[in-house]
């Protein structure tokens, strides 16, 4: 048997339609068939992680047991005590499998990583988030079944969007009323069809039709040429439409199941500055990094009075955040440069905003300056994606 990546082809959508139909009818009648939902979830997990990639399936099971044990162990500990070192240790332990997977290509630890399976990053985000909220006391009870449903929610398992435990549980334990559910269904259809346009038309055009041609010509020029610029825009469009299309499928499918998974993209290319961009691009990831890394780090710095200046604190936060994000993408020079690039961009952006605030009268603000801001941000972002694409690596280091 062959495995199927989520939303990869029409066959997958056919299976999905058939499987979701009873869930939909149930929700319309005000019922949630939990057993059926669980069976379907398992079936789709087998579809993705079984067959010829069954080793991934085994990794997934091992990984889930490990993370659930950490979460539950920590939850029980946290009811009685709250030592910082235990918390840090737990977070560290929760990240270890992901770290091994990400470091594996660099150190060539073995042929296949123990925990290597599609979507490990997103599961780790969910697990770490639970541990942190358990520490905060925000998660007051954990239930094994609900935790598994949350972690293994199949529409979002491979690449997000990253939901939050408490938010997910609220949806999962309820049934939306009929009017609300009808609105959700309408949105779901809209999202999924927009996703078709994004992923199977636009991303196909940019990524499969155009990109190889442009790449070939650009590489043939051995060095900088206008073709590299063409590659930059084409790659950026491919990246966006591919990922946004995928996210739309995931959100649409969740909606049909009565779960309001948060959206991941909100017209990112109309952002007027880099900060706004990160509020519109891969939103659930940037919010995750904001809430669980940036805010916590800044808060820690404030509490421990490591740094005095608020500006310096923010900047350290940004650099840490984007460096981690870069490393998370993989341990290659271009992902790390990509991270540093965005950290610098956002620091400069903050400087400019402070400057603008001070000199509000002297700096014009109109339609034209707004257009210019959008243009500048767009190009800056596209350039960062060019770094991200690893194209410079191919251009300069692989000959």
């Amino acid at each position: 048997m062959i495995s199927m990546q989520p939303y990869q082809n029409p066959t997958y959508f056919l299976y999905l339609t058939v499987a979701l139909l009873p869930i939909m009818i149930g929700l319309l009648r005000g019922k949630r068939y939990r057993l059926y939902e669980t069976v379907i979830s398992l079936a789709f997990l087998v579809l993705t992680f079984g067959g010829n990639v069954w080793i991934q399936g085994v990794s997934l099971i091992g990984y889930i047991i490990y993370e659930v044990a950490l979460i539950f162990g920590y939850f029980h500990y946290r009811q009685k005590k709250n030592a910082s070192w235990v918390f840090y240790l737990l977070v560290f332990l929760a990240i270890v499998p992901l770290a091994i997977v990400k470091l594996e290509p660099v150190f060539q630890l073995g042929k296949i990583s123990l925990f290597s399976f599609l979507g490990i990053s997103y599961l780790t985000f969910k697990a770490v988030q639970m541990i942190m909220e358990i520490r905060d006391g925000a998660i007051k009870e954990v239930n094994l079944m609900l935790t598994l449903q949350f972690l293994l929610f199949f529409p979002t398992i491979s690449s997000g969007p990253i939901d939050r435990y408490r938010r997910f549980i609220k949806d999962y334990t309820q049934v939306p009323d009929q009017d609300k559910y009808l609105t959700m269904l309408g949105k779901a259809v809209h999202y999924i069809f927009l996703g078709f346009l994004y992923k199977f038309a636009l991303a196909y055009f940019f990524g499969t039709v155009m990109l190889p041609k442009i790449q070939m010509i650009a590489l043939a020029h051995h060095g900088l040429s206008w073709w590299v610029v063409a590659y930059m825009y084409c790659y950026s469009m491919d990246l966006f439409f591919d990922f946004a299309g995928y996210s739309l499928f995931a959100v649409g499918t969740s909606y049909i199941m009565g779960i309001e998974t948060p959206v991941n993209f909100n017209k990112p290319f109309i952002s007027k500055n880099i900060k706004e961009f990160w509020n519109r691009w891969h939103m659930t990831l940037s919010l995750w990094f904001r809430d669980y890394i940036y805010m916590r780090l800044v808060f820690l710095m404030m509490k421990k009075r490591w740094v005095k200046s608020r500006v310096a604190m923010a900047n350290i936060g940004y650099i840490t955040l984007f460096l981690i994000m870069g490393i998370w993408h993989g341990l290659t020079w271009y992902y790390i440069v990509y991270g540093i690039f965005h950290a610098c961009a956002i620091i400069i952006n903050d400087m400019w905003l402070r400057f603008k605030k001070k000199h509000r009268q002297a700096i014009p603000h109109n339609k034209f300056t707004e257009m210019f801001a959008i243009f500048l941000t767009f190009n800056l972002v596209c350039f960062s994606f060019l770094i991200f694409s690893g194209f410079f690596d191919k251009l300069y280091f692989m000959h």
Binding site: I2, N9, N52, L182, L185, G186, V189, P212, K213, Q215
Partner: protein, 426 residues
């Protein structure tokens, strides 16, 4: 009631869309065929969708079109291009151009899948570029632009456990940079490993073939480049019948002379300005170490030859030269080119492919090449001296004696004294 209407509003369009898709893909439409104009346009479009497809080629091959298999030289459409001459002098054949930049032996082998039936007992012309025979062989990214699942599916349905099919399967797997359809990949892997396809595999392939063939029929002619104006314009500069070689050669000389004024290499000004002007200084002596003698392409080429043999085709091979002014500047080794030439000639002749137009010594002729490595004016005219009589003459039953040795790594890498020794012995 209210809920029913709401649901209809949401899902009505979805159901309609699904029905339309099913109709387009699954129902096998009786092919009414393409009209004459479409085939004419397709023949000179060098469109990748046409190359990857089946329907257009099938129809063209039942008419008076002859496959011209090659690569980037086919797009050098001056007045002496085969398509222009055939049209202007009302020959009874018309070239069907197959290939463009990046299509090498392997792409052509896969391009023949699906039309092998129509190719049976036909003639063809193949232009074999020395530049294909580099150390890495066919570039996977370029290959994928000429490859389609329709080719794979059609091929899989007839593949058996033999040397050619195992080799073709393995090479296809080598080219898969990203796994587009892993279901197909698994089947290709089976063939590569000498295993058989299951019944379920075949059912899947048959269904897939219907859908892909429909898509091919519907969509492959949608975005073709329209070159008919260009062909007409190029033909307009030629004197009308009768065809007089001496006169035409003089015109070719004059046209070449006019079009190559701006540079020392006498390559077309257009090419010079676009591709060389900026960086030609960097390329001085740059090709000293180029090697077209050791390459996996020799085995890929053998795969194509085997297909010609199976289809019982009468094929003419054209081996173009390199612009001498340019090769002297870049330091491309003439000794190496001679070696390539001997090697490829041996591979062809020893198996009975004797219809070879070897132009490798003509690189120094004025205006023979349109640019550095692509035939032009006088070169095309010289090709025509061989191609026209071949295609207007009768089909000759070929007698090929295929030799699997040419698939071997040993042959792919044979060079220098080893090659000389081998060729002297045989």
């Amino acid at each position: 009631m209210k809920i029913r209407r709401a649901l209809f509003k949401i899902f009505g369009p979805v159901i309609l869309a699904a029905l339309l898709v099913v109709a387009v893909l699954i129902i096998p439409f009786a092919s009414s065929g393409f009209n004459h104009r479409t085939i004419e346009r397709a023949a000179v479009s060098q469109s990748k969708n046409v190359f990857k497809g089946v329907a257009v080629k099938q129809q063209a091959l039942t008419e008076n079109y002859v496959p011209f298999m090659g690569s980037s030289e086919l797009s050098r459409m001056d007045s002496f291009h085969p398509s222009v001459l055939a049209q202007h002098y009302h020959r009874d054949y018309r070239p069907f151009l197959l290939g463009a930049a990046g299509s090498q032996s392997l792409a052509h082998y896969w391009g023949m899948q699906g039309v092998n039936h129509e190719l049976q007992n036909k003639k063809a012309v193949m232009i074999v570029s020395p530049q294909w025979f580099v150390k890495q062989g066919q570039n996977p990214i370029a290959f994928m632009q000429y490859h389609s699942n329709l080719q794979t599916v059609t091929w899989l349905l007839q593949a058996t456990n033999n040397r050619d099919d195992r080799y073709a399967a393995q090479r296809l797997l080598d080219m898969q940079v990203d796994k587009a359809d892993s279901q197909l990949d698994l089947m290709v892997k089976k063939i590569a490993d000498g295993k058989q396809l299951s019944k379920a595999d075949r059912t899947y392939l048959q269904l897939e073939k219907n859908s892909l063939a429909n898509q091919d029929r519907w969509f492959s002619t949608l975005s073709m480049k329209n070159r008919t104006d260009r062909i007409n314009k190029a033909a307009g500069q030629l004197p009308s019948s009768p065809y007089n070689v001496k006169r035409l050669d003089a015109i070719a000389y004059e046209m070449g002379d006019k079009a190559t004024t701006g540079n020392q290499f006498r390559v077309s000004n257009k090419f010079w300005n676009k591709r060389l002007k900026g960086n030609y200084r960097k390329l001085k002596g740059e090709q000293k170490n180029f090697n077209y003698v050791q390459s996996p392409e020799f085995a890929d080429f053998q795969l194509v030859l085997n297909q010609f043999h199976k289809d019982n085709m009468d094929v003419m091979f054209v081996i173009p030269p390199v612009n001498k002014r340019w090769s002297q500047y870049t330091g491309l080794s003439m000794a190496m080119l001679r070696q390539f030439d001997r090697k490829i000639n041996y591979q062809l002749r020893s198996q009975g492919f004797t219809n070879i137009v070897d132009l490798s010594n003509d690189g120094g002729e004025d205006f023979f090449m349109q640019d550095t490595i692509h035939l032009g004016w006088r070169g095309w005219l010289k090709v025509d001296q061989h191609v026209a009589p071949f295609l207007e003459g009768k089909y000759q039953q070929p007698h090929y004696q295929m030799n699997d040795y040419f698939y071997s790594k040993q042959w792919q890498d044979m060079a220098n004294s080893q090659l000389n020794h081998y060729l002297a012995k045989n």
